[in-house]
């Protein structure tokens, strides 16, 4: 079925569940009686950078969390590289929203990055020089080595975001899921993060990010997934990031003038 669909669209990246780094089928999540995400299918393309976009409260973060099992969906399932999530956790790295943690927590930057090594260290293994070196290398990738010994509360918002990214890097995963990585960060951090994400893509990794800034979608990402509780569209930026789809996702919330300024695909 999915293969037939794929040939319809003529796109080899949409080949079904078995290869997709993250495939979601029939996902419904609700807080109380109102679904935040309703019957959504998503097929993430391997080796690409995908932006999940949609208005506030459209269920972008919820979809990501449900796909990861952070919150339990009402219906639907997610597969990771064609298999059940449970055995595939080691292939996924998650970067939550910065606001989700208490930044006065007694922990240093290097400790947070080492949390990414949790799978490797398990319950009792000692932290050795090689683990510290690995964590430092990840900090280096986001340009934060000078801050290794700082308490995390002393960092700016952008620096905190980069530390979260370094923690994800430490996991050595194949699929990176980021929840609004550019929210409230400075320009320097945005550049640093996007260059790390692009280098991950060059290594053949897959990146999915909840994204807010429509103006940078075309510059940063290969593919888009538009959602407003229900899925609106998904596909390459070149063909899917269109005024028509944006209108469908955002309704009247996006003024035509705003849409006109975007670097949109001809739709």
């Amino acid at each position: 079925m999915s293969i037939a669909l794929a040939t319809d669209h003529g796109s080899p990246t949409e080949l079904g569940l078995d290869q997709s780094p993250l495939a979601v089928r029939g996902m419904t999540v609700s807080y109380g009686q109102k679904p935040a995400v309703f019957s959504v299918d998503m097929t993430v393309a391997e080796g690409a950078m995908t932006a999940i976009i949609g208005p506030n409260g459209a269920g972008k973060s919820t979809l990501l969390k449900a796909a990861l099992g952070v919150i339990s969906p009402l219906a639907g399932r997610a597969t990771v590289y064609g298999k059940a999530l449970k055995g595939q956790r080691h292939r996924i790295a998650y970067v939550p929203q910065r606001a989700s943690v208490d930044w006065d927590f007694p922990t240093r930057v290097i400790d947070v990055v080492q949390m990414g090594l949790y799978r490797e260290l398990g319950l009792l293994k000692r932290v050795r020089a090689k683990h510290v070196a690995k964590a430092m290398a990840c900090l280096d990738r986001v340009g934060m080595t000078d801050f290794a010994d700082r308490q995390i509360g002393q960092l700016s918002g952008g620096q905190q975001q980069r530390v979260f990214l370094a923690r994800a890097l430490a996991q050595g995963a194949d699929l990176y899921l980021l929840d609004e990585p550019f929210a409230g960060v400075d320009a320097a951090t945005e550049k640093a993060i996007i260059s790390v994400l692009k280098s991950l893509k060059d290594e053949g990794k897959t990146v999915v990010a909840v994204h807010h800034d429509l103006a940078t979608v075309a510059e940063y990402f290969d593919r888009v997934f538009l959602i407003n509780t229900r899925k609106v569209a998904e596909g390459p930026v070149a063909t899917t990031f269109t005024a028509e789809h944006l209108n469908a996702a955002y309704g009247g919330r996006l003024a035509m003038a705003q849409i006109d300024q975007l670097d949109l695909a001809a739709g």
């Binding site: 969390k65 990861l68 099992g69 952070v70 449970k86 956790r89 996924i92 998650y94 939550p96 989700s100 943690v101 208490d102 927590f105 007694p106 922990t107 240093r108 400790d111 947070v112 949390m115 949790y118 799978r119 260290l121 398990g122 319950l123 009792l124 308490q151 923690r167 996991q171 899921l177 320097a188």
Partner: protein
């Protein structure tokens, strides 16, 4: 006498109590740290109050089965069961009703405690109940502690510590970032349950020594105290354990030295003393350090404003500013500005003009963000950049810099 107490020379019972209390203190300090980090400190208060009905029911059961009802192990098992039931109630109330956790804690705490007091009153009227000494569980009673009782406390404390050691990584991860923990495949609900279960174990083990009303202090005060001294989770954990152990040992010894002093409350007061000292004197997070930091900052602001006023020939009305300028030898007693004062003032004014340009210049956005009215420009820009700015200002060369 005090020294004898601290060096365990006050006899068998005092030694038992002091050692038991120390093990309990370490276990409570270490376990309490995770409760504190998970922001669930108050749950321990509900747990401890929820133990009381269990103590009463266990006593009645043991008497009904023909015993005298005073077996500590039996009473503690009973208290664990009812505390566990209390925990379930809190979990259920928060998950399936619209009650927030604090309301659920208050409800469970008071209902269980009230029910426990009713049971205790009934037991008082039973023939077997008069000498049972169950009210000792409220505030702890160490007078008749036996070797077996002490062993239960030591073994319980050591087991709790071992479990905390084994689970410290997942518990830290869940406390810091539950979403990330869940995404990494940790069962957050189960880890939370483990944290609560450990707190429950400490509570039950500590009933005999400090009693259920004050055990919460042993779980909360040491981690809060330790937090003043370190920004690292592992150090906070160990420091909290050490503080808990020392407070409990010292408190138990002191109360043994003066028989009229109750053990549990003295332990709590000793650990509060450590807390008060840390609150006042801890570097960087302490009140005194914060006060000094603020004073230093205030002095810098006044100095700067004074210098700018001097440079522009404005009068200075603030007594504090004038005192600072005089003390630094920038202004004479009669109000005349010294040569050094003139030089510093000119430099301050020039710096202010330079900052003005920096803040207006898009290209220097990064440096401009650091403007606080105090910082010397040399710490932010290179000498070349400053020269360039000076060129733009024009005017006399060689001022300040």
């Amino acid at each position: 006498m005090w020294l004898d107490a601290l060096t365990l020379q006050l006899g068998y019972n005092a030694t038992l109590v002091a050692l038991g209390a120390m093990f309990l203190g370490v276990a409570a300090g270490v376990t309490g740290t995770f409760l504190f980090l998970r922001k669930r400190a108050l749950v321990s208060d509900a747990i401890s109050h929820a133990t009381l009905p269990g103590v009463g029911i266990a006593f009645m059961l043991m008497v009904a089965l023909g015993g005298d009802g005073r077996s500590l192990l039996g009473l503690l098992l009973g208290s664990a069961v009812s505390a566990g039931f209390g925990l379930l109630c809190i979990g259920w109330l928060t998950r399936f009703t619209r009650l927030a956790e604090d309301a659920a804690i208050g409800a469970v705490l008071s209902v269980f405690f009230g029910f426990g007091i009713v049971l205790l009153t009934i037991i008082q009227t039973m023939t077997a109940g008069r000498q049972a000494g169950l009210e000792g569980f409220l505030l702890g009673s160490t007078a008749g502690m036996l070797w077996n009782d002490a062993m239960i406390i030591v073994v319980g404390g050591v087991l709790t510590l071992a479990v905390v050691m084994a689970l410290r990584r997942p518990m830290t991860l869940v406390a810091f970032d539950p979403e990330y923990a869940a995404a990494s495949g940790l069962n957050v609900a189960r880890i939370d349950l483990a944290i609560m279960g450990l707190a429950m174990a400490v509570t039950v083990v500590g009933l005999k020594i400090v009693g259920l009303i004050l055990i919460v202090a042993m779980l909360i005060i040491p981690p809060v105290t330790a937090r003043f001294w370190s920004d690292r989770t592992d150090r906070v954990v160990w420091l909290s354990g050490a503080l808990g152990g020392v407070s409990a040992f010292v408190g138990a010894a002191l109360s043994a030295a003066a028989p009229s002093l109750p053990t549990g409350p003295i332990i709590v007061l000793v650990s509060f003393a450590f807390f008060a000292l840390s609150l006042l004197f801890a570097p960087s997070r302490g009140v005194l350090a914060a006060f000094l930091r603020h004073r230093r900052f205030q002095r810098r602001v006044h100095m700067r404003q004074g210098l700018l006023a001097l440079a522009q020939g404005q009068p200075i009305y603030e007594g504090f500013t004038l005192r600072l300028l005089r003390r630094a030898g920038l202004v004479e007693k009669d109000g005349v500005v010294t040569d050094q004062g003139k030089a510093r003032a000119a430099k301050a004014l020039r710096d202010e003009k330079r900052w003005e340009l920096v803040r207006a210049d898009q290209a220097l956005e990064g440096a401009a963000a650091l403007y606080d009215g105090l910082r010397a420009l040399e710490t932010v820009l290179t000498s070349d950049q400053i020269e360039e700015i000076d060129r733009r200002i024009g005017g006399p060369k060689g001022v300040g810099a």
